[in-house]
Subunit: 259 residues, 2 copies
């Protein structure tokens, strides 16, 4: 939605194109050199920060909806979005919790009807992705005033049940670390084992046995050693590694057991 | 639903109590002494076998819906049902695929309207559980002709997208084996390490390193050794083990890393 006319159309006749009562919300984690952040959007009409989300269209799959909505709300595309949980507690989506009707009217001149296709319980399918903070530059969409990275340890209060979503997305992501390869879009094409270890430590949120993850990645053929070292000082020249695309892609689909 | 009147009411006015376009489907796996099965129901009005499922009521959470629907459709209660994935591809739930309208009319005398609250795309939230085949006696509900266990290696053709659901439920369950304790309702109160190993082998569908799972369960305090042995022959008297309830329950919520 990129104009007031489109917003009016959405409220009046959105049910033609969108599935009633079905949304997706996406927890986009950002990593860069030892930092883990979360991408949040500030909708002009909602009083609290939220995960980027939106309604699912009738013609698209849930995966397609998650990709389209993340691109629309944040400007970030090409994410590997993974469904982790669906949220459907009665009362979870009451717009009175976080939707600022007065501000909405001031901004749009649109008076909301009391009983529209948007009324009623909504379920939201949660997705998460991990991207590189530096390459992924967030851009706020027309309905948002801001779109920004927040440190995972210092999040603002979130609207609706989005705090629960973030907690569950982190929990799911941390289990997935053991079963799917990660890092291709988070590390440089050539990287050291120390960088792999740091990535796993930061994503898992705990100090890890220093060699388990890297060793297992090597033994499974996900990463392999190059005949090249980084020159960072007289007695310190760690060896470079790289991802093996074929093994990596296969494991993304079939899963594996790390550690 | 336990009468024709209730079925008629459901088709005419179900939207009063049920959420439109939202169902749950449950993959109930059954284990007993080395066998893995799946519970399927044969709805009188649907031509193919299906996972037990149904519509979510407006007043209940998704977890509550899964428990209520499983009990109603199969007679089995007290399951630890775990959400694993939501299915929402456009076209997935076209009733023409598997719903036998003629048979429905013969059985019920109810003529279906073309455009009801049941028309349109439906998403289904998938849950799975694992129970003991012997203690869980399935009973078909009023709308089903049969409710029966099938060997996981020899399933009939399933309706809608339920084959995909079963595949994804198995995949999720096999990842969860590494992160949540299992077995309390599947093994006897006192069991041998060989029985634990067999359980993990059958659920995971592969030959496992013979001691990894049992050893890790012991080191995490999930199971502990008893001062008692099973007497099965002159030179064979394996030691009994039992679950530690407190550690087990905590790990069910917090998760863990096995192997």
């Amino acid at each position: 939605m990129e104009s007031l006319a489109e917003i009016q159309e959405f409220f009046d006749k959105g049910y033609v194109h969108y599935r009633p009562n079905l949304t997706v919300d996406c927890a986009i984690f950002g990593y860069h050199e030892g930092e883990l952040k979360l991408l949040l959007v500030k909708n002009k009409m909602i009083t609290k920060w939220c995960l980027p989300g939106g309604f699912v269209q009738k013609v698209e799959s849930l995966d397609e909806a998650a990709a389209r909505i993340t691109l629309w709300r944040t400007g970030i595309g090409n994410l590997f979005l993974k469904q982790f949980k669906t949220f459907g507690n009665p009362g979870r989506n009451n717009p009175r919790d976080a939707f600022d009707e007065e501000r909405f009217y001031q901004l749009t001149g649109i008076e909301l009807k009391k009983d529209t296709w948007l009324t009623g319980e909504r379920v939201s399918v949660g997705f998460y992705a991990i991207t590189d903070i530096v390459t992924a530059q967030p851009t706020a969409d027309f309905v948002s005033s801001e779109c920004a990275w927040f440190s995972i340890d210092d999040l603002p209060e979130l609207g609706f049940d989005h705090s629960e979503m973030v907690r569950d997305a982190l929990f799911a992501m941390r289990i997935d670390l053991y079963h799917f390869p990660i890092g291709k879009n988070l590390l440089q094409p050539k990287f050291t084992l120390k960088e792999v270890k740091l990535l796993y430590e930061v994503l898992s949120g705990k100090k890890l046995n220093p060699t388990n993850f890297p060793n297992k990645l090597i033994s499974l053929g996900i990463i392999s050693r190059l005949d090249e070292k980084r020159n960072i000082g007289a007695h310190r020249s760690p060896t470079y590694y790289q991802f093996n695309d074929e093994v990596y892609e296969k494991a993304l689909i079939e899963g594996l057991v790390l550690v």
